[in-house]
């Protein structure tokens, strides 16, 4: 019996477990049809990858510089509008999922936005589960407009 094409694709992508890989490899050593099919899958993959890679890659240094300057601006407290927005969003999430008194427990006076993010993430991870917590993090961080070279200056 021939190996299914889904299994061959997974084998080609090194996504099959050790035991299954050994079984498929054993079968391939005996079956010319499946070997042909695997070669075809590989060639298709190469073709799709090379078509994708034909697009010029990003000009590294300045793109990276943009990210690093945004980080520096954040660290220097220049993006304070984004930081305070982030804090208030986090507070709102804690209120929604736990309640207002929980905000006082989680948030210490003078806490930095990223610290509050860390504490909130941790508590949500534990009580809500990692997937739902990740979704809340995405929601909190989306549209904060801190990705510019330097956010709003305080």
């Amino acid at each position: 019996m021939h190996t299914r094409s889904a299994a061959l694709i997974a084998f080609c992508d090194a996504e099959t477990g050790a035991y299954r890989s050994r079984r498929i490899a054993r079968h391939l050593s005996k079956c010319e049809t499946c070997r042909d099919q695997l070669r075809r899958i590989e060639s298709e993959k190469d073709e799709l990858s090379s078509a994708g890679a034909r697009a010029p890659a990003i000009g590294g240094p300045q793109g990276l510089a943009g990210v690093l300057s945004a980080i520096a601006a954040w660290q220097d407290g220049q993006s304070c509008a984004a930081a305070s927005e982030l804090k208030s969003r986090l507070q709102w999430q804690i209120e929604t999922y736990f309640g207002s008194p929980a905000v006082r427990v989680v948030e210490r006076p003078g806490i930095r936005a990223e610290e509050l993010l860390g504490r909130t993430s941790e508590i949500l991870d534990v009580f809500l589960g990692p997937n739902a917590a990740e979704a809340v993090r995405d929601d909190v961080l989306s549209g904060l407009a801190f990705a510019g070279p330097a956010g709003e200056t305080c």
Partner: protein, 313 residues
């Protein structure tokens, strides 16, 4: 845009459970009213208990299913995984107990053990006792372990509150009740009266109930430190479920001692279904919180051909 109020899907599971419980209680209270209005001419005790058994087992099955859905969202290694595993096991014990008691542990026509020429009464009795143990002491012990795990996590995050005089008083009352029950059993034994196996099984669960009542009071304090959020509601439901179990156990013992006129069967029918529904609210509220989080992140652009796949796995 007006917020859409929907009763579809898991988001509205708590609403469905509360509606079901409301309808069930209303019907039972209506029957009680008729019984009173008719001058208690017919026997409420004599009415069939099949609807109650069916509701109880059905609710236990719903609870188990919701628990399994929640459990899947906590991968191995997640701190609350063990708590949800224990809560799921407790729900499974209750569901299994319900099925075994009502379908295999009862002398009724649809029980396959009754079909043979010589009904296996001994086996039916054994099944009934095993089911009572699973749904009683074993389930309570599992719940106590789950509560301990969740209290430890709440403490880690600073939501811990020391037990107050009220907490100790409630636990003290439960301990007194336990001692009274044991005293009564000892007295009966000394007087030469035989204590049924059902009574022994019930007695075995009482010490665990003492621990559970203290844990429930601690959970109540800790949850009060959190507030009234979506996640908190589930833990409030757990605490209420345990306190109702304790209250039910006490009431079942107290009523026959002090009143012969109250319809005990009616109370026996109402209490387990209420407790079962409250326990089912625990995973239901957790699911509401999780699905809300997923929905927020996963709402697809209306015109996007890509869309976003279903995030709730």
């Amino acid at each position: 845009m007006a917020k859409k109020t929907s009763l579809d899907g898991l988001d509205s599971a708590p609403r469905w459970i509360v509606m079901f419980l409301g309808a069930y209680v209303t019907v039972n209270l209506f029957v009680l009213y008729l019984w009173n209005a008719a001058g208690q001419v017919f026997s409420v005790q004599g009415t069939s208990d099949s609807p109650s058994a069916l509701s109880l087992t059905g609710m236990a099955a719903v609870d188990l299913w919701l628990c399994l859905v929640v459990l899947r969202s906590f991968p191995a290694g997640a701190p609350l995984r063990s708590t949800w595993m224990l809560i799921t096991l407790a729900a499974a014990a209750r569901a299994a107990s319900g099925v075994l008691t009502e379908f295999l542990g009862t002398n009724w026509l649809l029980n396959p053990l009754m079909w043979s020429a010589q009904p296996k009464s001994g086996l039916i009795e054994q099944i009934r006792h095993s089911a009572l143990i699973a749904g009683g002491p074993i389930r309570l012990a599992i719940l106590a372990a789950a509560m301990l795990a969740v209290l430890r996590i709440l403490r880690k995050f600073g939501f811990w509150a020391r037990p107050t005089v009220t907490d100790w008083a409630v636990s003290g009352i439960v301990c007194m009740f336990t001692l009274s029950r044991f005293g009564e059993a000892c007295a009966a034994s000394l007087a030469g009266r035989q204590i049924s196996q059902e009574d022994w099984i019930s007695l075995a669960g009482l010490p665990i109930l003492c621990v559970l009542s203290l844990e429930a009071m601690l959970l109540r304090r800790s949850v009060a430190r959190m507030g009234n959020g979506l996640i908190t509601r589930g833990w409030v439901a757990l605490e209420c479920g345990i306190l109702l179990t304790v209250a039910g156990e006490v009431a079942l013992w107290v009523i026959p001692h002090y009143s012969q006129t109250l319809p005990l069967t009616m109370f026996c029918a109402l209490m387990p279904v209420t407790i079962g529904s409250v326990f089912a609210l625990v995973p239901a509220y957790q699911l509401v919180a999780q699905r809300r989080a997923m929905r927020l992140a996963g709402s697809p652009p209306e015109d996007s051909p890509e869309g976003v796949p279903e995030l709730a796995r």
